[in-house]
Protein backbone atom coordinates (compact mmCIF):
# COMPACT_ATOMS: atom_id res chain seq x y z
CA UNK A 1 0.00 0.00 0.00
CA UNK A 2 2.84 2.34 0.90
CA UNK A 3 4.62 1.67 -2.40
CA UNK A 4 1.55 2.47 -4.49
CA UNK A 5 1.01 5.84 -2.73
CA UNK A 6 4.62 6.78 -3.38
CA UNK A 7 4.15 5.79 -7.01
CA UNK A 8 1.04 7.99 -7.32
CA UNK A 9 2.78 10.97 -5.76
CA UNK A 10 5.77 10.56 -8.07
CA UNK A 11 3.50 10.21 -11.10
CA UNK A 12 1.65 13.41 -10.20
CA UNK A 13 4.95 15.25 -9.66
CA UNK A 14 6.20 14.19 -13.08
CA UNK A 15 2.89 15.17 -14.74
CA UNK A 16 2.86 18.57 -13.05
CA UNK A 17 6.49 19.19 -14.06
CA UNK A 18 5.80 18.24 -17.66
CA UNK A 19 2.67 20.44 -17.81
CA UNK A 20 4.64 23.39 -16.41
CA UNK A 21 7.44 22.85 -18.94
CA UNK A 22 4.88 22.73 -21.78
CA UNK A 23 3.26 25.93 -20.56
CA UNK A 24 6.66 27.62 -20.33
CA UNK A 25 7.44 26.48 -23.84
CA UNK A 26 4.22 27.92 -25.24
CA UNK A 27 5.04 31.14 -23.45
CA UNK A 28 8.42 31.14 -25.20
CA UNK A 29 6.71 30.51 -28.56
CA UNK A 30 4.44 33.50 -27.88
CA UNK A 31 7.50 35.70 -27.23
CA UNK A 32 9.11 34.48 -30.45
CA UNK A 33 5.90 35.18 -32.38
CA UNK A 34 5.68 38.68 -30.92
CA UNK A 35 9.33 39.28 -31.79
CA UNK A 36 8.77 38.15 -35.39
CA UNK A 37 5.70 40.36 -35.73
CA UNK A 38 7.65 43.32 -34.36
CA UNK A 39 10.50 42.65 -36.81
CA UNK A 40 8.06 42.54 -39.73
CA UNK A 41 6.51 45.84 -38.71
CA UNK A 42 9.99 47.34 -38.21
CA UNK A 43 11.02 46.12 -41.68
CA UNK A 44 8.07 47.84 -43.32
CA UNK A 45 8.76 51.01 -41.35
CA UNK A 46 12.46 50.86 -42.25
CA UNK A 47 11.59 50.50 -45.94
CA UNK A 48 9.14 53.40 -45.81
CA UNK A 49 11.65 55.59 -43.97
CA UNK A 50 14.36 54.70 -46.49
CA UNK A 51 12.14 55.54 -49.50
CA UNK A 52 10.95 58.79 -47.87
CA UNK A 53 14.43 59.83 -46.78
CA UNK A 54 15.82 59.09 -50.25
CA UNK A 55 13.06 61.19 -51.86
CA UNK A 56 13.88 64.06 -49.49
CA UNK A 57 17.59 63.83 -50.30
CA UNK A 58 16.82 63.75 -54.02
CA UNK A 59 14.74 66.89 -53.62
CA UNK A 60 17.66 68.73 -52.08
CA UNK A 61 20.51 67.30 -54.12
CA UNK A 62 19.45 66.58 -57.67
CA UNK A 63 21.08 68.29 -60.66
CA UNK A 64 17.91 67.71 -62.67
CA UNK A 65 15.87 70.05 -60.50
CA UNK A 66 18.43 72.16 -58.60
CA UNK A 67 19.16 75.76 -59.58
CA UNK A 68 22.33 76.24 -61.59
CA UNK A 69 24.89 79.01 -61.13
CA UNK A 70 26.92 79.99 -64.15
CA UNK A 71 29.65 82.40 -65.05
CA UNK A 72 31.57 82.59 -68.29
CA UNK A 73 33.65 79.51 -67.51
CA UNK A 74 32.10 77.36 -64.81
CA UNK A 75 28.71 76.09 -63.72
CA UNK A 76 27.48 74.16 -60.74
CA UNK A 77 24.25 73.11 -59.08
CA UNK A 78 23.25 74.41 -55.66
CA UNK A 79 21.88 71.84 -53.22
CA UNK A 80 18.69 72.84 -51.42
CA UNK A 81 17.36 74.84 -54.35
CA UNK A 82 14.65 74.05 -56.88
CA UNK A 83 14.19 75.40 -60.36
CA UNK A 84 10.40 75.64 -60.49
CA UNK A 85 10.30 75.64 -64.30
CA UNK A 86 11.62 72.07 -64.49
CA UNK A 87 9.23 69.15 -64.54
CA UNK A 88 9.79 67.07 -61.43
CA UNK A 89 8.60 63.48 -61.63
CA UNK A 90 8.11 60.72 -59.09
CA UNK A 91 11.04 58.91 -60.76
CA UNK A 92 13.30 61.93 -60.16
CA UNK A 93 12.69 61.46 -56.45
CA UNK A 94 13.38 57.71 -56.64
CA UNK A 95 9.95 56.76 -55.34
CA UNK A 96 9.09 53.17 -56.45
CA UNK A 97 5.82 52.25 -58.12
CA UNK A 98 4.35 50.59 -55.02
CA UNK A 99 4.63 53.85 -53.08
CA UNK A 100 2.47 56.95 -53.36
CA UNK A 101 3.44 60.51 -52.63
CA UNK A 102 1.95 63.92 -52.03
CA UNK A 103 3.99 67.09 -52.37
CA UNK A 104 2.78 70.50 -51.24
CA UNK A 105 4.68 73.60 -52.36
CA UNK A 106 5.82 72.39 -55.77
CA UNK A 107 4.26 70.28 -58.51
CA UNK A 108 5.51 66.71 -58.90
CA UNK A 109 4.21 64.59 -61.77
CA UNK A 110 3.02 61.19 -60.56
CA UNK A 111 2.27 62.26 -57.00
CA UNK A 112 -1.25 62.57 -55.67
CA UNK A 113 -3.05 65.70 -54.57
CA UNK A 114 -4.75 64.00 -51.61
CA UNK A 115 -2.84 62.85 -48.56
CA UNK A 116 -2.99 59.58 -46.64
CA UNK A 117 -4.21 59.00 -43.09
CA UNK A 118 -2.28 55.76 -42.50
CA UNK A 119 1.41 55.22 -41.78
CA UNK A 120 3.50 57.60 -43.86
CA UNK A 121 6.84 59.40 -43.98
CA UNK A 122 6.26 63.14 -43.77
CA UNK A 123 8.85 65.90 -43.81
CA UNK A 124 8.61 69.64 -44.19
CA UNK A 125 11.62 71.64 -45.36
CA UNK A 126 12.45 75.04 -46.86
CA UNK A 127 14.03 75.42 -50.30
CA UNK A 128 15.26 78.37 -52.31
CA UNK A 129 13.45 78.61 -55.62
CA UNK A 130 14.52 80.02 -58.96
CA UNK A 131 13.04 80.15 -62.45
CA UNK A 132 16.25 80.46 -64.42
CA UNK A 133 19.97 79.82 -64.14
CA UNK A 134 21.59 82.23 -61.70
CA UNK A 135 24.60 84.33 -62.59
CA UNK A 136 27.54 84.67 -60.27
CA UNK A 137 26.63 88.18 -59.05
CA UNK A 138 23.11 87.15 -58.06
CA UNK A 139 24.51 84.15 -56.23
CA UNK A 140 27.06 86.29 -54.36
CA UNK A 141 24.25 88.72 -53.42
CA UNK A 142 22.26 85.81 -51.96
CA UNK A 143 25.23 84.42 -50.04
CA UNK A 144 26.23 87.81 -48.61
CA UNK A 145 22.61 88.67 -47.70
CA UNK A 146 22.63 91.67 -49.99
CA UNK A 147 19.37 90.40 -51.43
CA UNK A 148 17.09 87.60 -50.38
CA UNK A 149 16.24 84.77 -52.76
CA UNK A 150 12.65 83.61 -53.10
CA UNK A 151 11.92 80.57 -51.02
CA UNK A 152 9.20 78.03 -50.46
CA UNK A 153 8.21 75.46 -47.85
CA UNK A 154 7.89 71.95 -49.27
CA UNK A 155 5.88 69.23 -47.54
CA UNK A 156 6.71 65.72 -48.70
CA UNK A 157 4.45 62.83 -47.77
CA UNK A 158 5.29 59.25 -48.84
CA UNK A 159 3.34 56.08 -48.09
CA UNK A 160 3.06 52.49 -49.24
CA UNK A 161 0.33 52.01 -51.86
CA UNK A 162 -0.35 48.33 -51.20
Amino acid sequence: MMDTRKGQVMLLDVLFAVVIIILMFFLLIKFVETDIYKTNVDSRTEELTSVGSLAYQKFLNNPKINCKVKDTQNSFYIPGTINTTTTITKADLGIPLDYNCQVIGVSVTGCQTAGFDGPSYTIQFPVVTCTDDLNKNTYVDYVTNTSDPSSSIITLNVWRAS
Binding site: V18, F25, D35, I36, T39, L54, K64
Partner: protein, 150 residues
Amino acid sequence: MFTKKGQLSIEVLIIIIFLITFIYVYNNLAEQAVYSLEINKIKEQELTIALSVNEFLEAQKNILADTNIVDYNATYRLPTITIASKKITSCFVDINLDTQMLIVQTDYSNIHTDMDVNLPKDDFNISGIISCGETIICNKPSTKIECKQI
Protein backbone atom coordinates in the same frame (compact mmCIF):
# COMPACT_ATOMS: atom_id res chain seq x y z
CA MET B 1 -9.03 -5.19 -10.82
CA PHE B 2 -5.31 -4.70 -11.34
CA THR B 3 -2.76 -6.06 -8.94
CA LYS B 4 -0.29 -3.64 -7.38
CA LYS B 5 2.40 -4.73 -9.82
CA GLY B 6 0.05 -4.36 -12.77
CA GLN B 7 -1.01 -0.89 -11.63
CA LEU B 8 2.64 0.19 -11.34
CA SER B 9 3.43 -1.09 -14.84
CA ILE B 10 0.55 0.90 -16.33
CA GLU B 11 1.73 4.04 -14.52
CA VAL B 12 5.25 3.56 -15.88
CA LEU B 13 3.83 2.97 -19.36
CA ILE B 14 1.77 6.17 -19.15
CA ILE B 15 4.83 8.14 -18.08
CA ILE B 16 6.92 6.69 -20.92
CA ILE B 17 4.23 7.45 -23.54
CA PHE B 18 3.81 10.93 -22.12
CA LEU B 19 7.55 11.58 -22.16
CA ILE B 20 7.91 10.33 -25.75
CA THR B 21 5.03 12.56 -26.88
CA PHE B 22 6.48 15.45 -24.94
CA ILE B 23 9.95 15.05 -26.46
CA TYR B 24 8.46 14.78 -29.97
CA VAL B 25 6.28 17.87 -29.59
CA TYR B 26 9.03 19.84 -27.85
CA ASN B 27 11.55 18.96 -30.53
CA ASN B 28 9.12 19.86 -33.31
CA LEU B 29 8.20 23.20 -31.79
CA ALA B 30 11.82 24.04 -31.02
CA GLU B 31 12.80 23.37 -34.64
CA GLN B 32 9.94 25.55 -35.88
CA ALA B 33 10.92 28.36 -33.50
CA VAL B 34 14.56 28.26 -34.63
CA TYR B 35 13.49 28.13 -38.30
CA SER B 36 11.21 31.15 -37.84
CA LEU B 37 13.97 33.12 -36.13
CA GLU B 38 16.48 32.25 -38.84
CA ILE B 39 14.09 33.32 -41.61
CA ASN B 40 13.43 36.51 -39.71
CA LYS B 41 17.13 37.34 -39.41
CA ILE B 42 17.76 36.58 -43.09
CA LYS B 43 14.79 38.70 -44.21
CA GLU B 44 16.07 41.57 -42.08
CA GLN B 45 19.50 41.45 -43.71
CA GLU B 46 18.05 40.98 -47.20
CA LEU B 47 16.01 44.16 -46.74
CA THR B 48 19.11 46.08 -45.62
CA ILE B 49 20.95 44.93 -48.76
CA ALA B 50 17.99 45.79 -51.03
CA LEU B 51 17.62 49.27 -49.55
CA SER B 52 21.34 50.04 -49.67
CA VAL B 53 21.72 48.89 -53.29
CA ASN B 54 18.67 50.93 -54.31
CA GLU B 55 20.08 53.98 -52.52
CA PHE B 56 23.45 53.54 -54.24
CA LEU B 57 21.85 53.25 -57.69
CA GLU B 58 19.52 56.20 -57.07
CA ALA B 59 22.56 58.33 -56.25
CA GLN B 60 24.00 57.46 -59.68
CA LYS B 61 21.04 59.15 -61.39
CA ASN B 62 22.48 62.51 -60.38
CA ILE B 63 25.47 61.91 -62.62
CA LEU B 64 23.27 61.70 -65.71
CA ALA B 65 21.82 65.15 -65.14
CA ASP B 66 25.17 66.80 -64.47
CA THR B 67 26.93 67.39 -67.78
CA ASN B 68 30.03 68.66 -65.98
CA ILE B 69 30.94 65.11 -65.03
CA VAL B 70 32.50 63.20 -67.90
CA ASP B 71 34.88 60.67 -66.37
CA TYR B 72 33.20 58.86 -63.55
CA ASN B 73 32.97 55.61 -61.67
CA ALA B 74 31.53 54.67 -58.31
CA THR B 75 31.83 51.45 -56.36
CA TYR B 76 29.81 49.87 -53.57
CA ARG B 77 30.61 46.67 -51.72
CA LEU B 78 27.46 44.75 -50.85
CA PRO B 79 27.10 43.43 -47.30
CA THR B 80 26.92 39.68 -46.70
CA ILE B 81 24.19 37.73 -44.93
CA THR B 82 25.21 35.89 -41.79
CA ILE B 83 23.31 33.98 -39.15
CA ALA B 84 24.84 32.27 -36.16
CA SER B 85 23.32 28.83 -36.64
CA LYS B 86 23.90 28.24 -40.36
CA LYS B 87 26.24 29.16 -43.16
CA ILE B 88 24.63 30.97 -46.07
CA THR B 89 26.60 29.88 -49.12
CA SER B 90 24.69 31.69 -51.84
CA CYS B 91 23.27 35.19 -51.76
CA PHE B 92 22.80 37.49 -54.71
CA VAL B 93 20.99 40.60 -55.91
CA ASP B 94 19.10 40.52 -59.19
CA ILE B 95 17.92 43.82 -60.64
CA ASN B 96 15.34 43.51 -63.38
CA LEU B 97 14.94 46.80 -65.22
CA ASP B 98 12.02 45.47 -67.30
CA THR B 99 9.88 44.66 -64.29
CA GLN B 100 11.51 47.34 -62.11
CA MET B 101 12.15 44.80 -59.37
CA LEU B 102 15.15 44.33 -57.14
CA ILE B 103 15.36 40.82 -55.69
CA VAL B 104 17.72 39.65 -52.96
CA GLN B 105 17.84 35.87 -52.73
CA THR B 106 19.65 33.30 -50.61
CA ASP B 107 19.97 29.53 -50.84
CA TYR B 108 18.22 29.14 -47.47
CA SER B 109 14.75 27.73 -48.24
CA ASN B 110 14.59 30.04 -51.28
CA ILE B 111 13.88 33.01 -49.06
CA HIS B 112 13.93 36.22 -51.05
CA THR B 113 13.06 39.86 -50.61
CA ASP B 114 11.45 41.72 -53.50
CA MET B 115 11.44 45.46 -53.73
CA ASP B 116 9.98 47.80 -56.34
CA VAL B 117 12.48 50.31 -57.67
CA ASN B 118 12.39 53.31 -59.96
CA LEU B 119 15.45 52.88 -62.17
CA PRO B 120 14.45 53.72 -65.78
CA LYS B 121 15.76 51.38 -68.45
CA ASP B 122 16.84 54.40 -70.50
CA ASP B 123 19.15 55.53 -67.72
CA PHE B 124 20.68 52.25 -66.55
CA ASN B 125 22.35 49.21 -67.95
CA ILE B 126 22.94 46.61 -65.25
CA SER B 127 24.53 43.41 -66.43
CA GLY B 128 24.17 40.14 -64.56
CA ILE B 129 23.51 39.41 -60.93
CA ILE B 130 25.59 40.79 -58.07
CA SER B 131 26.73 38.47 -55.30
CA CYS B 132 26.60 39.55 -51.67
CA GLY B 133 30.00 40.58 -50.35
CA GLU B 134 31.15 41.54 -53.84
CA THR B 135 31.67 45.02 -55.29
CA ILE B 136 29.45 46.70 -57.84
CA ILE B 137 30.97 49.37 -60.07
CA CYS B 138 29.02 52.00 -61.99
CA ASN B 139 30.38 54.30 -64.67
CA LYS B 140 29.08 56.49 -67.45
CA PRO B 141 30.67 55.61 -70.78
CA SER B 142 27.77 57.10 -72.75
CA THR B 143 24.38 58.52 -71.88
CA LYS B 144 23.60 55.54 -69.63
CA ILE B 145 24.93 54.50 -66.26
CA GLU B 146 26.49 51.06 -66.64
CA CYS B 147 26.82 48.90 -63.56
CA LYS B 148 28.36 45.46 -63.11
CA GLN B 149 30.03 43.27 -60.53
CA ILE B 150 33.83 43.34 -60.39
